[in-house]
């Protein structure tokens, strides 16, 4: 079991997500990456099955780029954190069929509970 944490930029929010991720999975099983290429590289060089990806989307273009990995994402469980409540962005995010879709301004405890439950179900 491994958790892949993607965010284009490092900032206060991503630091919180990173801390949150480390609280539910061991440091060794956590992969942080900051580009689509890195996400693709990690998924191509580790067992896809048994991977959960937590994608912190920066903006619309970032999500469009992530959609290029749609096929490989279909093998894993996705959690998406969106930056805004924009309808178009939400519709685009649903094309990746996430197991959970939330927003950066929502409670991070909620995200932690979901993550814990998905990890528990996968074990």
């Amino acid at each position: 079991m491994q958790l892949l944490l993607y965010s284009q930029h490092s900032n206060e929010n991503t630091d919180i997500l990173s801390t949150l991720a480390e609280s539910v999975i061991s440091h060794n099983a956590l992969y942080e990456c900051h580009s689509i290429e890195e996400v693709g590289f990690i998924l191509r060089h580790s067992h896809i099955s048994g991977t959960i990806a937590l994608l912190f989307v920066a903006d619309y273009d970032d999500l469009v780029n992530l959609l290029s990995l749609k096929d490989i994402f279909s093998y894993i469980r996705l959690i998406i954190v969106l930056p805004t409540h924009n309808e178009e962005l939400i519709a685009l995010a649903h094309r990746l069929r996430p197991r959970f879709l939330t927003f950066i301004d929502e409670s991070h405890y909620t995200l932690k509970d979901v993550l814990k439950k998905i990890l528990h179900n996968e074990e």
């Binding site: 067992h47 279909s74 093998y75 649903h94 094309r95 069929r97 197991r99 409670s107 979901v114 179900n121």
Partner: protein, 472 residues
């Protein structure tokens, strides 16, 4: 060209039909007995059959299931000199397209012929529908009878707007089937929204589904739409619906009944036009009897039911599945596609694949990783625990005392052993029973399973064993 067969003891009726149908460019054949008629149907395809109700070698009523078992089945019109209304009703129930009394004047025959020709022209074979939609069924791989039966329901469900319940063991591909329904439905241009009922903590599920108003609870800093609203115009896929808490089931049922809902902490009624596709690996009927699932909600979800077969019940799909997923995994890894050794495919059915397609995909992924730069996958590349079970099953098959050499078997066939004779007799009876059962239920496997007392997976296995089609 429409092919017509007339099964009648004398040629008078055949002569009239020949004249009328010939004008329409149809090809007409004639069989003077029921046996000849049935036999010719297994060697040639007929679209329409005119069948005399009573023939010296049998009755139309008994022969109808045999014609209905042919895929695609012909339209059978029964003609009779004296039949009671009950018998006529029975003919229709057994699959006859129409029924008429003899003697019939040429004009009446012409009208019947025109009607059936018109119907035949408008008919689209189920198989061609499955073929047509195949591009929308991405990731659903296989040609087995159980799988094709499920795809036929997918097509029917996509045409309708009723709710769908998909059941099946873990890893059978329930989400892919849900997506296939969505993608081939009128809602395809709108959202396919996944609700993973197993992933959502009980405290969160209500606000996630219904949304919440600002200030509804601690941390609700702003008003937020729920997944029901996000699915407006599209499909709400309730995965693992068996995990949905009873309290939420009640609220959800109310949404389905009233087509409106309230956000958590909200007072204003919200609307959303969505279609539900629910999936579970649990026995919801059993959960209802244990009062863990609401009967009324289950009733609403069951407008269409798709029971996905476990992989062990469709072993012929292992090879195409392996080829497809190997290609997809290699593409994802950015490496060259690999070949398979002959042994690889031979060994796959030796394992029961309890985790179904998902387990097969995981095993393939591990095999590809294990093979590294080697261009061909061998069984040795599969995970050790799977290979060990495969080898053990393979050895057991090799040692099976029933695998006697062909020559010896042929010598014995002059007068078979009682055990063999009994086995063949049972097989013949099972075959007959199942064919009649499928004809009786018009291919409805739920009813057939209920009547026969067989589990659906066992029923499918037997249908496959005897090569019985669900088409009728």
């Amino acid at each position: 060209m429409v092919n017509i067969l007339v099964i009648d003891i004398n040629k008078d009726f055949f002569a009239v039909v020949s004249e009328k149908a010939g004008e329409k460019g149809c090809e007409i054949s004639y069989a003077s007995s029921l046996i000849k008629g049935i036999n010719v149907c297994f060697t040639r395809r007929f679209d329409i059959i005119f069948l005399k109700s009573t023939m010296p070698d049998g009755k139309a009523l008994d022969a109808l299931p045999k014609f209905m078992n042919i895929t695609p089945h012909p339209e059978v019109i029964v003609m009779s000199e004296s039949t009671t209304p009950e018998e006529a009703e029975c003919m229709i129930k057994n699959g006859a397209w129409d029924y008429f009394e003899l003697p019939a004047n040429p004009h009446a025959i012409y009208l019947i012929l025109m009607r059936v020709l018109q119907y035949n022209a408008s008919k689209v074979p189920k198989d061609s529908l499955v073929e047509k939609e195949k591009n929308s069924f991405k990731g659903i791989i296989g040609e087995s009878l159980p799988l094709r039966s499920c795809l036929e329901i997918v097509i029917q469900a996509a045409k309708s707007d009723s709710h769908v319940l998909i059941t099946g063991e873990t890893g059978t591909g329930k989400e892919l089937f849900a997506l296939a329904i969505h993608n081939t439905s009128n809602r395809a241009h709108k959202n396919f929204v996944v609700v993973d009922c197993a992933a959502l903590p009980e405290t969160l599920i209500e606000s996630t589904l219904f949304g919440h108003e600002k200030g509804a609870f601690t941390g609700a800093d702003k008003t937020q739409d729920g997944l029901i609203k996000q699915a407006d115009g599209g499909t709400l896929f309730l995965d693992e619906i068996g995990e949905m808490p009873l309290a939420i089931q009640k609220k959800f049922l109310r949404v389905l009944e009233r087509q409106t809902f309230l956000m958590v902490g909200g007072r204003k009624k919200q609307t959303s036009d969505f279609r539900i596709i629910a999936a579970t690996n649990r026995n919801l009927d059993e959960m209802v009897s244990q009062k863990h699932f609401r009967k009324d909600l289950l009733f609403r979800l069951k407008a269409f039911v798709i029971n996905l077969p476990p992989l062990r019940d469709r072993p012929e799909d292992l090879k195409p599945l392996a080829i497809y997923h190997m290609s997809e995994i290699c593409k994802a890894y950015g490496i060259e596609k690999k070949e398979f050794s002959h042994d690889f495919f031979k060994m796959l059915p030796q394992y029961k694949w309890p985790g179904n397609v998902r387990e097969l995909v995981n095993a393939l992924e591990r095999a590809i990783v294990a093979a590294k730069h080697e261009p061909v996958l061998f069984p040795q590349h599969l995970p050790l625990q799977i290979r060990a079970k495969m080898v053990s099953a393979h050895v057991a098959t090799e040692k099976n005392p029933h695998d006697i050499p062909r020559e010896e078997e042929e010598r014995e066939s002059a007068f078979p052993q009682l055990q063999k004779f009994r086995k063949e007799a049972i097989a013949e009876l099972e075959n007959r029973y199942l064919r009649e059962l499928i004809a009786h239920t018009n291919g409805d496997t739920t009813r057939a399973s209920h009547i026969s007392g067989l589990s659906r997976s066992r029923l499918y296995a037997l249908l496959k064993k005897y090569n019985i089609s669900l088409s009728h």
